[in-house]
């Protein structure tokens, strides 16, 4: 079984994240760039399958040069190889364009199962698994809290606002996993040493069988919300509850 995990590099959610005033894109300089937390769990789902069955695990990312370092970390966890789609012409791609390029690279590589995160922490589109599946003409089973992989199908519990659902799709398919899946393993020393020798293949737009897609959506303006200032802070001496009620009453909240 060949599993391709789509991994994304994002600004660390522990740092201050910004949109750049001029490019109107997410600011990538001067911030720590990390592997998206949920795509880390997507790698873990693939590696768990590799632990118990015969599976090849390939990582794929579309992103700037800096993404190579993140792919190397994923290789240290145990993935076999990585594909880095990198091209200046891809800067600022919207979701539709990103999905077209990823799908073309996935088609070129061949796959049985594609695993995504359900939602990235920066764009938060929550749409990529379904888009890539539509581009490839395969089913998607997404927002999975649990994943069961067999030789011919993938199944699991799908998250939902009012109900969870048990879903099942024949392979080849695209799935996405939620943060309820297990946390990633740690890289071993041996894993780190081996990762240095594993291949990261670089793919440019011209390598792909694709009519150059253009972005269909564009940001017109961005405004930053003014920072919040702290208000009153009291230490409870037995009267705090009453003072809080006074505050809520004077603010017309009770």
């Amino acid at each position: 079984m060949k599993i391709i995990v789509l991994v994304k590099q994002v600004p660390d959610t522990y740092g201050e994240r910004r949109l750049d005033d001029t490019t109107r894109r997410i600011q990538r300089s001067g911030v720590d760039l990390v592997i998206d937390e949920i795509t880390e769990r997507a790698i873990e789902v693939a590696l768990t399958e590799k632990d118990t069955h015969d599976a090849e695990v390939v990582l794929m990312s579309m992103g700037p040069a800096s993404a190579a370092e993140m792919l190397r970390k994923g290789l240290a966890l145990g993935a076999d190889s990585a594909i880095h789609v990198v091209d200046d012409a891809l800067v600022g791609s919207d979701m539709l364009r990103t999905s077209a390029v990823l799908a073309a690279a996935l088609q070129r590589e061949g796959f049985d199962l594609i695993i995504c995160g359900n939602e990235s922490t920066d764009g938060r589109g929550g749409s990529m698994a379904a888009m890539v599946a539509e581009q490839l003409g395969v089913p998607h089973a997404s927002y999975l809290n649990t994943v069961e992989i067999s030789t011919s199908a993938v199944a699991g519990e799908r998250a939902g606002e009012q109900a969870t659902r048990v879903v099942r799709a024949p392979l080849p398919a695209v799935i996405s996993v939620t943060e309820h899946n297990p946390e990633p393993r740690f890289a071993s020393f041996k894993g780190l040493m081996r990762a240095k020798k594993k291949p990261i293949h670089t793919v440019k737009l011209s390598d792909l069988d694709i009519v150059e897609p253009s972005s269909h959506s564009a940001v017109r303006s961005i405004t930053q919300r003014p920072a919040r200032a702290a208000g009153r802070k009291i230490v409870d001496d037995g009267t705090a509850a009453n003072e809080l009620v006074e505050f809520l009453t004077s603010s017309h909240l009770i």
Binding site: T121, M131, P139, A159, R225, K233, D236, S251
Partner: protein, 323 residues
């Protein structure tokens, strides 16, 4: 005026409130048209109500498999309705999990730009412009899509209503065997359906964190919430420790909320939690650690033990309400 297609949301044979919101948004942009997909008979049962909510046309796609295939029936119905309608100015879908994925597949099928989680929409000379909140509400972004925009809209963000209309029914055929799809083999409704307001639309939210210490103690959060008629939220630490259900999580990877009042109990205020609640109008924090970062955004902070302060607060609020 171009038609604006709205995907009807219904559950157990009834329309959900977001359908009216989507039709209200559509009326600002063009002619509101509803697209209804479901099991045979759904059209007859919901036509009149859709007209009352402002739909001029209702495209009805009925199929036995409508409830058992994941996302693809709605995509096929919207695609067929778009073809039947001719000139379509946009497609509006609720920003739920299924809604985002329907929009995603449709955007590829129609080669149309996708805008997710809009909180407002307007028609301008340059086309439809959507307003979104980015990076946990820290930024407001306005975006437009070339050609036909497909927009998912955050539930309860749109107010107002479309004028009632005499809805015209147009049946559309969908071939659900045509596209490969995942099967839904079982549905498990959340066990904790309560009478409390919905987290995303509540005007008051009481949230609990790891400081509650156990599922039993988490009941204190619910008791305070009930005094205010509030929804109950939680931090990820509380969810991970199984003090409460995961659909209560507020923050970066949970729900984004902007209530009039947000009361946080035993939550430290990690940046990922603040990302989901810092646009609340008024924030109250109760935490025993005076250095907890959530105090930095609190309009009123109490440094104290929540197990002492909250029971007193419940009494004091009740007394005030009765006065």
């Amino acid at each position: 005026m171009p038609q604006i297609l709205v995907l009807v949301e219904h559950s157990q044979g009834k329309l959900t409130t977001v359908t009216g919101e989507l039709l209200a948004a559509a009326a600002r942009l063009g002619e509101p048209s509803a697209v209804l997909v479901g099991r045979p008979g759904i059209g007859d049962s919901l036509m009149a109500e859709l007209g009352a909510l402002g739909a001029l046309h209702v495209y009805v796609a009925e199929a036995d498999a409508a409830d058992t295939l994941l996302v693809t029936p709605a995509v096929a119905a919207l695609d067929a309705a778009a073809k039947a309608a001719g000139a379509v100015g946009g497609v509006l879908i609720t920003a739920s999990i299924a809604g985002r994925e329907t929009a995603a597949r449709l955007s590829v099928r129609l080669d149309a730009g996708l805008i997710n989680d809009a909180v407002d929409l307007e028609s301008t000379d340059g086309g439809i412009v959507a307003t979104m909140q980015a990076l946990g509400g820290a930024f407001t972004v306005r975006a437009a899509a070339k050609s036909l925009p497909i927009v998912t809209i955050r539930p309860h963000a749109i107010t107002g209503a479309a004028p009632a209309a005499e809805a015209q029914r147009i049946n559309v055929d969908v071939d659900l065997d045509a596209a490969p799809a995942a099967q839904i083999t079982a549905v498990h409704a959340e066990a904790t359906a309560t009478d409390r307001p919905d987290l995303m639309s509540a005007s008051v939210i009481v949230s609990g964190g790891r400081g509650l210490g156990s599922r039993e103690n988490f009941a204190l959060v619910e008791q305070l919430a009930d005094v205010f008629g509030a929804a109950v939220g939680a931090s990820r630490a509380a969810v991970d420790a199984d003090y409460c259900d995961h659909n209560m999580q507020v923050g970066q990877t949970g729900v984004t909320v902007s209530p009039d009042l947000y009361i946080a109990l035993g939550i430290s205020g990690a940046i990922q939690h603040r990302a989901g609640m810092q646009s609340a109008k008024t924030i109250v924090v109760i935490n025993k650690d005076a250095d907890a970062p959530l105090f930095e955004v609190a309009d009123f902070g109490v440094v104290g033990d929540l197990f002492t302060v909250v029971p007193q607060l419940i009494e004091a609020v009740r007394a005030r309400q009765q006065a």
